[in-house]
């Protein structure tokens, strides 16, 4: 009561921007990623006056801000908060918003807008960010009255972080953020159109339990829904109780310990043979929090053809979207796993299946040919894994290096793996590492990036310089857009159209110009000498690691092929 009364007294001389700042404090926001500009001047003034309330991170491009917020959200498991100005500021955020939508990352993005009176007149730095972001947000708002602002901020955080998480955009016209506020504001909200189902239907849980007790070849597919729900513990109990092999999606890595004997690794286009064959042959597929993305399923005709499919998802629209599902369970993953764990544990008749899965895991390991003179990229990732004892937070862009990181860095804990899965955004990894590091200052944070992707957002080295953030940038430098090159080699008869980039900056000098230690490594021997220290110290680093250009990611499911048609499973 007292607090409310004092808010009312104070707000008599406050602006909409102050209301926004107060609302952010109320939400417990401690880190903001933003870039100022004309339409957000009142907001930046309020942030200035509220000094000490937040850590405001100034990237050097709005895209850097939003990817950093995504990395922060992924590691901290809470909403990332972004501020951008109107027009180009807002449109520069679009890639990150779409990325967060695809990967269900909770973000609350505030954009400035021109004053209400000139909206629709093509005013300076005006863009229809509501129209632009409607298809790529969970929801978006344009604030029309100052009284609504606190309510909208509350709703935005609620929508972004509950149910299936996602990005929410709040567009604030400049006249609202600068308006002096004198009336009562609205705090309470009610969203009758948004009531996510969090608890599973007990009948469906019983159905799944029954199917499980009868299964001879069960497999669990773990998606990032488990990580969002914080259900790793429950998952471990469930897997331990029944001894079921686990296959992970790209984004689900870390939800179940990657180095565990029941983990078959990642499934899908560049997954392991053991994982894909388990998906192909299983008679019961328990999907928890994954969305049957096409990169996982391959040709749907050959996806788990003889399996009964159970699918736990908080988003009912994902169930049955790509794969017919006989046991649909709309629920938060944690609640569903708890309910399953409350059922009586029966031992399964599946020894044969386990032995087969383990035999495949042993007989078809991931492979590469080690070289004396050249650094093989797979080996590089393996070394990063060894030197960081598998405990680092790892971020990546998209492409070959991303697949190698997913294959060779075995995540044993959730919220350690930060990658752009659904949208596949180049330039994601480095800024995401900045956000990830800010969310977890204790851990070593390694951005494994390609030379192509890094050059899309390397301006954020300024942030490392400014803050001395100890992010380690490992450039897997093959002087090519590796995955494009690989596809051109495989499917376009080796016509390397615009995918070989011989001209490179001197990354060491580049790093040094930001007063960041830079390293050039082009032999396995040097790597073993210098990399352990680079990863162990508390300074930022840029490591230009020259790797073999001709390396391809294997094994692989060619486009249009099924899970059982992998190529390159053996050397």
């Amino acid at each position: 009561m007292k607090a409310e009364a004092s808010v009312k007294e104070q707000t008599a001389t406050k602006t909409g921007a102050d209301l926004l700042v107060e609302s952010l404090i109320e939400q417990g926001v401690d880190t903001l990623f933003g870039y100022p500009g004309g339409a957000v001047l009142p907001i930046y003034d309020a942030i200035y006056r509220a000094e000490g309330s937040f850590d405001h991170v100034l990237p050097r491009h709005e895209q850097g801000a939003i990817h950093a917020a995504e990395g922060y959200a992924r590691v901290a498991n809470r909403a990332g908060v972004v501020i951008g100005t109107s027009g180009p500021g807002a449109t520069n955020l679009v890639t990150g918003i779409a990325d967060a939508m695809m990967d269900s990352i909770p973000l609350v993005v505030f954009t400035g807008q021109v004053a209400k009176g000139v909206i629709g007149t093509d005013a300076f730095q005006e863009s229809d960010i509501m129209g632009i972001t409607t298809p790529i947000t969970k929801h978006n708002y344009q604030v029309q009255n100052i009284e609504e602002l606190p309510r909208i901020v509350k709703e935005a955080f609620h929508i972004a972080t509950t149910g299936r998480p996602g990005p929410v955009v709040v567009d604030i016209p400049k006249d609202i953020s600068s308006e002096v506020y004198a009336k009562d504001v609205i705090h309470h909200f009610h969203l009758p159109g948004y009531q996510p189902t969090l608890k599973p239907n007990p009948l469906q849980i019983t159905k799944l339990h029954e199917a499980l007790t009868q299964a001879k070849k069960p497999v669990i597919l773990t998606g990032s829904g488990i990580i969002h729900a914080g259900a790793s513990e429950e998952l471990r109990t469930f897997v331990r109780n029944y001894e079921i092999p686990v296959v992970s999606t790209l984004l689900g890595l870390g939800s179940y310990p990657g180095s565990d004997r029941l983990s078959l690794g990642m499934g899908g286009m560049h997954g392991t043979y053991a994982a894909n064959m388990a998906l192909y042959e299983c008679d019961l597929l328990i999907n928890i929090g994954a969305r049957f993305d096409d990169r996982l399923t391959g040709n749907l005709k050959h996806f788990a053809p003889s399996a009964k499919v159970a699918h736990v998802d908080i988003d009912p629209a994902e169930i049955g979207k790509n794969v017919p599902t006989s046991i649909p369970i709309v629920s938060d993953a944690k609640a569903a796993l708890k309910a399953l764990n409350n059922k009586e544990v029966t031992s399964l008749d599946h020894k044969e299946w386990l032995d087969k899965s383990w035999a495949r895991k042993a007989d078809y390991p991931l492979w590469y040919h080690q070289k004396d003179e050249d650094i093989v990229p797979q080996w590089l990732v393996k070394k990063v894994y060894d030197y960081t004892r598998g405990e680092a937070v790892v971020t990546t862009d998209v492409g070959q290096h991303q697949m190698w990181a997913a294959q060779y860095y075995h995540f044993d804990e959730p919220n350690r793996w930060v990658t752009s899965g659904g949208l596949g955004t180049m330039g994601y990894g480095f800024p995401a590492a900045i956000g990830a590091q800010l969310a977890d200052m204790e851990s070593t944070c390694v951005a494994i990036v390609g030379d192509g992707g890094f050059q899309m957002t390397l301006q954020e080295l300024s942030v490392l310089q400014e803050r001395g953030l100890p992010v380690k940038v490992i450039i897997v430098n093959n002087q090519a857009l590796g995955m494009v090159r690989q596809w051109q080699e495989k499917f376009y008869d080796g016509r390397f159209s615009s995918s070989i980039i011989d001209t490179q900056p001197d990354f060491v000098k580049l790093a040094e110009s930001y007063q960041i230690p830079g390293y050039f490594i082009d032999s396995p021997k040097t790597l073993e000498e210098v990399l352990p220290d680079i990863l162990a110290d508390d300074k930022p680093a840029v490591v230009d690691c020259r790797v073999l250009q001709s390396e391809n990611v294997y094994p692989m499911i060619a486009p249009g092929k099924g899970l059982h048609e992998m190529i390159g499973v053996k050397p």
């Binding site: 969970k138 629209a317 169930i319």
Partner: protein
């Protein structure tokens, strides 16, 4: 297959864009759409006629609509007992000589002439879409100068026949 889907929505700016944008993004074909206020303040009702390939696509459509924060309720009422109407205005070329002839054609359709000029008359017809289609086809030989249709609007009848079985959660079961 054609389906009639209704959505109860918050009457907020941008809601029509959200809904039609969603359907376009997921490649659903909208045959007609009508929107209007309802008995509840701040709440509107949209009626779509959509052409979907199969039940799975239809299930996606209703689920994706339901995910929208401003959408309160989605119903596929095609298989219910419903009342469905649309209104069409048809401007037909006519002179005084054939006006009575047209009058004779439209009468069984309970359509009315709502405007008359020297060279044309405007006919208003309401009913189910096939009835409207039928009348338009009959008028076409006279020369249709202008045609405007509202799209179908519909809701369930007060009395519903007893359903034999309850549909399970997933249409795919």
């Amino acid at each position: 297959m054609k389906r009639i889907v209704t959505a109860i929505v918050h009457n907020r700016s941008g809601v029509l864009n959200r809904v039609t944008g969603l359907l376009a993004k997921r490649q659903f074909n909208i045959e007609s759409i009508s929107v209007g206020r309802t008995e509840t303040e701040g709440v509107s009702k949209m009626t779509f006629v959509v052409d979907v390939e199969d039940n799975r696509k239809l299930e996606q459509l209703t689920k994706q609509l339901n995910k929208q924060i401003d959408v309160l309720k989605v119903s596929d009422i095609t298989d219910n007992a419903i009342v469905a109407r649309e209104l069409a205005l048809v401007k037909v070329i006519s002179n005084p000589q054939i006006r009575s002839e047209i009058q004779g054609i439209i009468e069984p359709f309970r359509a009315t002439i709502i405007d008359v000029s020297k060279e044309s008359i405007t006919v208003q017809v309401t009913g189910k879409s096939d009835k409207v289609d039928a009348l338009i086809e009959l008028l076409r030989p006279y020369g249709v100068k202008e045609l405007a249709r509202t799209g179908l609007t519909a809701f369930k009848r007060g009395n519903q026949p007893q359903q034999a079985e309850v549909k399970s959660y997933s249409l795919l079961n």
